[in-house]
Symmetry: C2
Subunit: 207 residues, 2 copies
């Protein structure tokens, strides 16, 4: 099945933004990449901002789906999977995270929407830590839980940029699993011996 021009524009834009940074890509380059005329592109999207807007909507739908953590008991393995999926989504839309302050300064209608996502991330991480605490796997005061959740959200948001910085010459060596390990290591000092050992086993590949 042939992809519609509109969708081809969005997919190509996402790839170019992720590769070169959104601010370094023009609509002319996008049209060029797809071998369509600038007029044809303009027919579908009036500006680069419209493309960014649509891609942000994709990202928003995908991450909100993930952040909708159900009110059930969460195991260490559930958490592990949750973090992997979150990192994969962030990697898919990494142009946003690599340049967040600048992107949100230029497209300021996205600010509230992004801040809402940050709050939901915070809530989801707190929810997971709470579930582990309720099961007696994790022991931390309320104040420690707040600091821990904050640190997890920060690491979730920036770990990919940090990892890319250390692998600028070899982007294929970027490994999302190391990010999952880094996040779970934040919990480590609060975990019971048994869970700490489980974490050590799960993360053997990422050291």
């Amino acid at each position: 099945m042939k992809m519609k021009t509109r969708d081809r524009i969005l997919h190509s834009s996402l790839a170019l933004f992720n590769e070169f940074g959104e601010s370094n890509v023009t609509t002319l380059q996008i049209a060029d990449e797809l071998d369509i005329s600038p007029g044809n592109l303009y027919y579908h999207f009036r500006s680069k901002g419209d493309i960014v807007n649509e891609l942000f909507g994709w990202y928003e739908a995908q991450i909100n789906d993930l952040l909708d953590v159900p009110e059930i008991t969460i195991s260490m393995e559930d958490q592990w999977l949750f973090l992997h999926l979150l990192f994969e989504t962030i990697a898919q839309y990494r142009f946003l995270y690599q340049d967040l302050v600048n992107v949100l300064s230029r497209y300021n209608h996205l600010q509230t929407r992004f801040q809402r996502i940050m709050k939901r991330k915070h809530k989801a991480c707190h929810r997971i830590c709470s579930s582990l605490r309720e099961q007696g796997m994790l022991s931390a005061s309320d104040a420690e839980m707040t600091v821990l959740s904050e640190q997890i959200v920060l690491t979730l948001s920036y770990w990919l940029s940090y990892e890319m910085l250390t692998h600028l010459q070899d982007k294929d060596a970027v490994d999302l699993g190391r990010g999952v390990y880094q996040v779970m290591s934040l919990q480590a000092p609060y975990l019971q011996p048994q869970e700490r050992q489980l974490l050590a086993q799960m993360s053997e590949d990422y050291r």
Copy 2:
């Protein structure tokens, strides 16, 4: 004493880059801001890249000076001051950190220099944690020390962007002290009760 045109260009560029993001500022805007002709600017700097290069040199000299942690016993208060000064330097050159992957993709001769700084940051943080461990204030295994230093470097590098994201509508509310608190909280679970209490006291203002 009147500032030389060359220095005025550099200071104005730094202010504009920090405010709007380096990729959103043109040399024409810089000349405009200073009320000089584009030709006059061109006489001093052949391209925006030359300006970025020079500013990077400033940042590099300043941060390297800080990261030269002496081989002496380091107290909690020394660490507190060290972190404050580091965050201040990062804030002064925040255009770099807000857009690091993109800036380093465009000016790739800066990559090695930046990676060298990251390594020195890592070494300095490890050195400080080691000093606290030697004094019996902090108790952590070598593996825990590595994860902890990594997390401190990540937080040092991205905390300002994270803080700005949560204060996009009110940039004056951005508070470097909260970053210092966040970094020291990473150490908290490894600290002895007395040092943990000291940390709680020192950070009362930032909660």
